[in-house]
Symmetry: C2
Amino acid sequence: MSKSQFLNHVRYTYGIVNIMTKRNPHFASLKTNYLFPEINLRKKEFLARHPDAKLISLGIGDTTEPISPSITNALMQMSARLGTKEGYVGYGPEHGMKALREKIASKYYSNRITPDEIFIADGAKCDLARLQTLFGNNISVAVQDAAYPVYVEGSIIQGVKKIVLMPCNPENNFFPDLKNLPRTDLIYFCSPNNPTGAVATRQQLEQLVAFATKNQSIIIFDSAYAHYIQDENLPKSIFEIPGAHNVAIEVGSFSKIAGFTGIRLGWTIVPKALKYEDGLSIKADWNRLNATIFNGASIISQAGGCAILEEEGDKEVKALAAFYLENTRLLKEALDGLGYEVFGGKNAPYLWVRIKGKNSWDSFQFFLEKLQLVITPGLGFGEGGEGFVRFAAFGSRENILMAIKRLVCTTIECVL
Amino acid sequence: MSKSQFLNHVRYTYGIVNIMTKRNPHFASLKTNYLFPEINLRKKEFLARHPDAKLISLGIGDTTEPISPSITNALMQMSARLGTKEGYVGYGPEHGMKALREKIASKYYSNRITPDEIFIADGAKCDLARLQTLFGNNISVAVQDAAYPVYVEGSIIQGVKKIVLMPCNPENNFFPDLKNLPRTDLIYFCSPNNPTGAVATRQQLEQLVAFATKNQSIIIFDSAYAHYIQDENLPKSIFEIPGAHNVAIEVGSFSKIAGFTGIRLGWTIVPKALKYEDGLSIKADWNRLNATIFNGASIISQAGGCAILEEEGDKEVKALAAFYLENTRLLKEALDGLGYEVFGGKNAPYLWVRIKGKNSWDSFQFFLEKLQLVITPGLGFGEGGEGFVRFAAFGSRENILMAIKRLVCTTIECVL
């Protein structure tokens, strides 16, 4: 019996079986933990040591306020409807409910794009991953640094080899230096930005579209926070920029607009005008991919989405955004007053704070240990985030005020 | 100005921009249309010619009966709860609601697997795609022929080059000839099978697990139709087979159990014991992948899932399965009586019917034109499906009886 035969014999007889299949090599390139589970681990470890701690989370960008009345009502109505013979529906329509796509087109895009260019999904993160599957790994990508981890990590999972970081920091006003940027196939761009809270101006987005047009690149525009923009001069969509239809895909989400983080609903826009090098339609492949490996967002969530876009729902979610932005303003005021260098927070629910003399995981630990505040270390968003931390202003007013009290007191003991 | 400069100038000035990015070559390997959208196109084309036609769909396996009362109630309650300050939750827990995972483990798996090996998802199709992302393209796969298209097409999208077809037909009793099957990294296996309705016996699954163990392959076991199994001797899960924990992943779904096709809820089990060649945990990578590119199923759908697993809900969904199986029995009786060669349909909601002398798209067109019945051409499930068609027995009793009447009359005119 050869050694390998013997090993097989042992494995088979005793059930000690490793699979002969090799690990997908892309996974070895990933850091061990995704950012937020790592933060949760550290929280748990802290709570094990301090079981009585009263943690306040300003960490993960998770909404905290209840779903507003007219939207709750729509969720309940669709749930009830599914229990009736006349109202029941099975698989939702391909691309999502027509009424929802029409309302998104008119209300959020002033019909600059058409309903058939909109694909309803279960959220921006999942659709970003499907877009990464669409383009495969024989491409190059550019990513803002710092940025939402999914752009880089999802690309690594696909096996993308060339990832160009675009530093975005206070020194360049959080807009990449396009003159010195090499051409890439995709350019991920998030505005209002998570984590920095920076919002690109119309002129900046014009430069970005011109850059993509010149280079024949595709912008993957993440507008998940667009509806926090209060300043009317700032564009909420890449499609407000002439020419963007030829070079951009936009990913949107109801998560942060309406507290749909757990309900799961978003959309992706792939314009008809967007073509591969050979003139084939990118929308057609996106359509094919969605039909093959996706079955749409929950029909209940989609009914909720329709309500968000009604007059009543729109009023409610605007009030919700105003509430979180007031949280942000209060936090910013406090941090400014304490002498921190604070960015963002005006048209976005995030504050990006430079902590001098500390690396960002040390800062994380500092806020956790001293103030029992959970924030997000900037490094979690890429090398460009080192030295920064992100404050998310989701939370009840009570918690935000308590967090501010702790910040002002500088240690938890003086507050408790 | 060089030619390329000129072209760029024209493109930029006139907005005629193709992206320089090449199409992901994997897409060129896909057939143009996914099966069901193709069927819809043919239906539409027929309806354009015959606007008054009264089509009955026995095609796509889409549920038609309303969500049962206790489950509807749970969906409504969670919807209402999200509208309250105390009840609101944002992002669901990683891996899905603990109560749901515990109930699945105990009720569906008699605790043969543990809740931490269960990952809640928005449906089997989406999780199959994520599993395909997990394993990447440097692998070989085996697939039942005929089979649910997602195994092959999802693999093609990933760029998997080696796809081995395992013929499953009346001649081999719908079980692959393992003796002559080469080793592959993954073996997709669906039982009860979609589309053939065949259910593997305990002995057959033991052979399959032994085969995977000997070859150190992974079985991706699709149990989406397990709860149609009425015969107590037939296994509902691969994990009823000793040793399967070392070599199998199972994908389950609430879609066909409880009419959740539009509500979106399923699960995947990756046992702790499952290891790559180098001993690393596959579950750990699955965990990492889910944290990075997925955000869980809708919390409302998950609440509905919990209700399915309560005593009341369990009774209701068993009644639902019995209803669809009675549809199947009636259809089978009619088709048998008409002299068709009919397979499946005893422990599955599908009938697999051999149509002599016609290819399966011709049969599709025949049933559409002559009887205004929409069925599914076997070829849509792979080469092994040629010569067959699939009847899905989802539908109201009224529609099933009308379909039978048309079948017996042999032309639509005699019925109308």
